[in-house]
Amino acid sequence: MPTRDVQTLSDQELLQRVAQGDEDALVALYDRYGRLVYSLAYKILQDHQLAEEVTQDVFTNVWRAAASFDPKKSRFTTWLTSIARNRAIDLLRRRRARGLTGGRETELNTAITRADERLSPEHHLQALAVREALEQLPPAQREVLELAYFGGLTQREIAEHLGIPLGTVKTRVRLGMLKLKELLSPHGPPGNGRSGQKETNALEEQSKVRKKGV
């Protein structure tokens, strides 16, 4: 086997090696994304035991499913974060159903090392771009996206939680997502033609009109 240092390989190359049963490649992916996965699970569950459980499951899942990952269908990071988010939300919903809630963050903050200052340059840039894009959204749209993604709430649950009409939530989710998509992919959907773009713009126009109205 070629002894190229795993650190220099792309995610895709590492994943191919993982699919062939190379543990070092999996550990290299863990070194790259373990912190992101763990922190996402922690953000959702507010519990470091459960975040650990999720992180472990995510990477053993990557180990088992690496061969079935299709780079034509999805980016590796999207695949990875979606496994992590879904697993964490599953746990959160089950805990909620049993009447358990999180909210131990203040207690744990002191025990956990904050790691923001040691980001990889790619991660740093990505995080910066997403934060900037989110800041361009009206706060009300941003709020519903975060409640859905990190809180695992459906649109109906968000409406109940915020005490606003379901229709309003639906509009905010749709406009927020489309705006975010546009901000984060400046060239628009590849090969998806003009119709998608037009729809986005039309929705934006509506959004502007509404904003002026308020």
């Binding site: 519990d47 025990a111 993604y149």
Partner: protein, 264 residues
């Protein structure tokens, strides 16, 4: 596919990508997605957008033992490939032959340890190592497990664990949740750490004889510790559990065994 259905689903796609739809709407979207390549392409972009939200979370370091544990877990998943440190738990925790305590002794032990636990599980155990962060025993979670144990004891198994050496009075108990991959370890009489010794480390051994590190911890002044941890495997796949003293930063190098107990 009808034009109208495509338009309706296209409106639902952003919420679908965020996993924010009700079951009924979800079903509708999924039925249409099977036949509409345009919606599939749009969904891919929306999903990418949704999961970029993950990049905005404050970052925390996972516990250091998780990396090694994941490596061991995937490696032990494959046969004919011994990756355990020094060939199983015996390398890290010398197995001692002890008479099994009667249920009554076990009960007395757990009652005394629960009392101890009630007083000490909220103690923030201070360690010498800055990198060792698994030290806050989570009182909520621990209290929850204890209540569950009292309410439905059948969901739990109790196992005594013993000192590996008669020169120190360590003993303890393992409370194993049959339904979830978690255990509580209550221990007392742990020997003091010597100069170059960094922490105590819990290990488990699976049926194949592989030793897997679970987590490092420190004890209080009196040599007591209460620990709740998540298991990398189903409880029924774990044969033996042990505590050793470890060196290094992170403290992954076992130097001497302290506690040992058979679960099977």
């Amino acid at each position: 596919m009808s034009r109208e259905e495509h338009d309706i689903v296209l409106e639902l796609l952003p919420a679908y990508a965020l996993d924010a739809l009700d079951e009924e709407e979800k079903g509708r979207v999924e039925r249409h997605l099977r036949v509409c390549p345009r919606c599939q392409a749009e969904l891919r972009l929306l999903k990418e957008t949704a999961h970029l939200l993950a990049y905005t979370v404050p970052l925390y370091d996972p516990p250091f033992h998780l990396r090694e544990r994941i490596r061991l877990l995937v490696a032990t998943g494959r046969p004919s490939h011994d990756v355990s440190p020094r060939g199983g738990l015996k390398g890290v925790v010398r197995t001692a032959v002890w008479a099994r305590p009667t249920p009554l002794t076990a009960l007395v032990l757990i009652l005394s340890l629960i009392t101890l636990g009630l007083f000490s599980w909220n103690i923030h155990l201070k360690g010498e190592l800055a990198s060792l962060r698994d030290e806050t025993v989570d009182a909520h979670e621990l209290g929850e497990v204890m209540l569950e144990y009292v309410e439905s004891p059948d969901n739990y198994e109790l196992h005594p664990i013993q000192a590996t050496d008669a020169s120190f009075p360590a003993h303890g108990i393992i409370l194993s949740d049959r339904l979830r991959r978690r255990m509580i370890l209550l221990a007392k009489g742990l020997p003091r750490l010597e100069n170059d010794e960094a922490a105590y480390m819990v290990w488990i051994q699976d049926e194949r004889g592989h030793a897997i590190p679970i987590r490092a911890f420190h004890c209080d002044e009196q040599g007591r510790a209460v620990l709740l941890f998540t298991l990398p495997k189903e409880p029924q796949d774990i044969v033996e559990i042990g505590v050793s003293i470890a060196q290094g930063n992170p403290p992954m190098t076992p130097v001497r065994p302290v506690l040992d107990g058979k679960l099977r």
